[in-house]
């Protein structure tokens, strides 16, 4: 299964601004574009969450810097906060940026298989983001039907009073899906066909395995939802009735299509973050990852299972109640492969020599937060418990623990770890420490109490908790959570400051600042166009050779000194 390396690109001369920063086909520049877009959209999504939480803490008061919210705008905030964070922040950063940056560098290729398609998928995403942002400014305002967009509410303008805002919201999704479909094809083709000599699938770093799994899940699950989005758009624009009962349609059909995609989508976001954490543990504990092959199999099992669990979002939706238990069983079973992965991560620290540098702190934070979010998922996966907990703030707390653990903790683990390779400088550690600890504390203060208020009966997507006798006595939780969110947002400002200061003032990064084994650290920081200069890398062992007995130092890189050495079979692991 050895793949031949592609010839170096011919056009290596210095390119102009336009070619370098905008119409670039270099996977590393495209990765930076994805990162920047994701961060910008994170600012937008974060701003919406600030206005939303302010309204929840102090209903119907003026939100500083935003204005009056009230129930109508609140629905817009709820909807677009979710849409932006999942589709325009998590995916661009974890899949778009990490995948593009890491895949060629870690498998030993010069670029992605289809560099122009790669640029196209980024610019499609940029277009989708623009369409979504524009939707805020059309008459009637932006989409208010929830990030899940359930019809019939979303199917007829008269139900929400919003016409073009919601159409554009659907259009933005369609464009985003197209962008990541192209990206996913590119990821898979690259990993399958462009690995360096010696880079067998059994030597692929785990983060690449997770990226491949994520891209595969996305490709296999998004088709039905694209069809669904087109059908919904037609219901709205040309008067079809796919989801409208009085025209012979079926509202539940949308929910099946949405969640058939929606559950795998959770793993599309989660797996790359999991992968980033898995790369970080061995480096900062100086020992191999525990159970490399077991983790790969667990990922494959979880991915397969994720296609037969979707109706756990629909236990009380009105589908045939006899369908609930089969889906409940598959859902709860998915805890087994993820428990295996979590245990493997913990075991990866066993007999390590752990140093708590920033990527490691984020990696460990990911583990703790993800475990919490995973465990609360069992409550919601159980059909009878979900009768009560469905649609309460318990759900909100649960998915923020799973998704934020992935996007924030896993994402920052990756950003802090690969920043030196990406930008050629080290991220500042003082601000980094402040960023990590304040994020950890404020994240938990913001979201943990939401479990309680959810169990106490506060339902999701209400603009004014004080309207409910059951919730009003617990209003202090809403105030507390909002105040903590302000802290959480302020903590991210520390990161932005650090990110931009370090671009200019950071210590120049050596090629391999962490003494890591994987291929990307054998390229210069930052790697030049084409990554490897004249000599292409060859690979002679698995990716986690730390503290191996008999070696003269505590790490041995994957890269063979020369292709000839590889062919002689030296140092095979």
């Amino acid at each position: 299964m050895t793949m031949t390396a592609t010839a170096p690109h011919e056009h290596h001369e210095a390119a102009g601004f336009f070619r370098t920063y905008l119409y670039s086909t270099d996977h590393k520049m495209i990765a930076k574009q994805y990162l920047l877009l994701g961060l910008i959209m994170a600012v937008v999504g974060g701003f919406l969450s600030y206005a939303m939480r302010w309204q929840l803490a102090w209903p119907d008061t003026e939100v500083p810097g935003f204005g009056f919210v009230g129930p109508e705008t609140f629905n817009v905030l709820v909807t677009n906060h979710g849409t932006i964070m999942v589709f325009f922040v998590a995916m661009p950063i974890l899949l778009g940026s990490f995948g593009n940056f890491l895949i060629p560098l870690m498998i030993g290729a010069r670029d992605m298989a289809f560099p122009r398609l790669n640029a196209l998928s980024f610019w499609l995403l940029a277009l989708g983001s623009t369409v979504l942002c524009v939707s805020f400014f059309v008459p009637g305002g932006a989409a208010p039907a929830g990030w899940t967009g359930y019809p019939p509410l979303s199917a007829k303008a008269e139900y929400t009073g919003v016409n073009w805002g919601l159409n554009l919201w659907l259009l933005a999704h369609a464009i985003e899906f197209a962008a990541f479909l192209l990206g996913g094809v590119n990821f898979l083709t690259t990993v399958v066909t462009m690995r360096a000599p010696g880079m067998t699938m059994g030597r692929l770093p785990l983060v690449i395995w997770q990226q491949v799994a994520a891209a595969t899940l996305f490709l296999l699950s998004v088709g039905p939802l694209i069809a669904g989005a087109v059908m919904l758009l037609m219901d709205r624009l040309v008067g079809t009735g796919f989801f409208i009962p009085e025209r012979g349609g079926e509202p539940l059909l949308w929910q099946h299509l949405f969640w058939f995609f929606g559950h795998p989508e959770v793993y599309v976001v989660l797996l790359p973050a999991l992968g980033a954490a898995l790369e970080v543990y061995p480096v900062f504990s100086r020992k191999p990852v525990f159970g490399y092959r077991w983790i790969i199999w667990a990922t494959i099992c979880a991915g397969a299972l994720s296609f037969i669990v979707w109706a756990h979002h629909m236990f009380v939706s009105g589908m045939d109640p006899r369908l609930a238990m089969p889906f409940s069983i598959t859902t709860i079973l998915i805890s087994v492969p993820f428990a295996l992965t979590v245990f493997a991560m913990v075991a990866s620290l066993y007999r390590g020599s752990i140093s708590f540098e920033l990527p490691m702190l984020w990696g460990l934070g990911f583990l703790a937060m993800f475990t919490t979010g995973g465990l609360t998922g069992i409550f919601l996966g159980s059909a009878p418990a979900d009768i009560y907990l469905n649609s309460t703030y318990f759900v909100v707390a649960h998915f923020h623990y799973t998704l934020i653990s992935a996007v924030i903790f896993g994402g920052y683990a990756g950003i802090y770890y690969w920043f030196p390779k990406m930008f050629g400088r080290m991220l500042g550690t003082r601000l980094g420490q402040l960023h990590f600890w304040s994020t950890l504390v404020f994240f938990n203060l913001t979201f943990f109490p939401l479990h309680w208020i959810g169990i106490a009966g506060m339902v999701r997507r209400i603009a004014n908790p004080l309207q409910y006798e059951m919730v009003a006595p617990h209003q202090w939780i809403n105030v507390f959570s909002t105040l903590s969110l302000l802290g959480l947002v302020a903590s991210q400002l520390v990161f932005f400051l650090n990110f931009f200061l370090s671009q200019f003032r950071g210590r120049p990064a050596p090629a391999n600042p962490w003494n890591a084994t994987t291929l990307e650290w054998t390229a210069p920081s930052p790697p030049p166009h084409g990554n490897w200069g004249a000599s292409m890398p060859a690979v002679e062992r698995w990716p986690y050779e730390y503290s191996a007995p008999g070696a003269d130092r505590d790490w041995v890189g994957q890269r063979a000194p020369t292709v000839e050495a590889l062919l002689r079979g030296e140092g095979r692991a």
């Binding site: 238990m325 475990t371 159980s382 418990a385 009768i387 649609s391």
Partner: protein, 226 residues
């Protein structure tokens, strides 16, 4: 930490649902403590110290991997236990509806709950039907049969104190039931985003004791012939 936040339960099957929530709570709490405890111990025990080198542990061979595989087997067993217990509760609440001589139809619309009683003839769609807005009356200690509908968009019928929730959809009549054990007034919020009036869309459930129920029925349908 979690369970004490549940509101008072007044429903006959609420105990079963709380039981499942409690079962899952203790199981997940145990795993949380074990996993986080191990993590903390490792973090402290294996922090970088001079003179202490890391070990080369790959965890690939079955003998090593058993350390993580055996706990997973245990999880599988606990999962099946939760499913097994849960299936019975689910069937009781959602599948096997008991016989009942009180029948109420509840229809969600933007942004009210319309509650309809069939009246003395026991049939909906006749003249003696009575309709209430955002107000539902039931007798205590008796199973009540519900038919849940929606007029426009999806709403969700939620009675926190009765541990009952059911989305309602236009074009469908979904059967459900409840058995309220304690007289009183209880809140009934809509739990599905249904438009700009969703926040604040709620009704009141009034549970009457036996004499109260008889009085209420008599008040509503007295003087009416048949």
């Amino acid at each position: 930490m979690f369970l004490s936040w549940l509101p008072e339960n007044i429903s006959s099957f609420g105990r079963d649902i709380d039981g499942i929530i409690g079962l899952i709570y203790y199981i997940t709490l145990a795993w949380f403590v074990v996993t986080m405890g191990t993590l903390l111990v490792f973090i402290v025990r294996y922090r970088r110290r001079p003179g202490q080198a890391a070990g080369y542990v790959r965890g690939e061979r079955l003998r090593e991997a058993a350390w993580i595989l055996v706990p997973c087997l245990l999880i599988l067993v606990l999962d099946l236990w939760i499913d097994f217990k849960g299936a019975a509760v689910w069937a009781k609440v959602k599948v096997d509806l008991p016989q009942s001589d009180v029948h109420v139809k509840v229809t969600g619309k933007q942004f009210n709950w319309v509650v309809t009683y069939p009246g003395p003839d026991g049939k909906f769609g006749t003249e003696d039907d009575k309709t209430f807005l955002d107000e539902m009356h039931v007798p205590a200690g008796k199973p009540v049969r519900l038919t849940l509908e929606a007029k426009d968009v999806i709403h969700s019928f939620f009675l926190p104190n009765l541990r009952l929730k059911q989305d309602v959809l236009p074009g469908r009549a979904i059967p459900a039931w409840l058995d309220a054990m304690k007289p009183g007034q209880y809140e009934m919020p809509c739990a599905a985003l249904c438009g700009m009036g969703h926040s604040g869309m709620k009704a009141t459930l009034v549970v009457h004791d036996a004499t109260g129920w008889a009085t209420w029925v008599a008040e509503q349908w007295s003087g009416e012939k048949k």
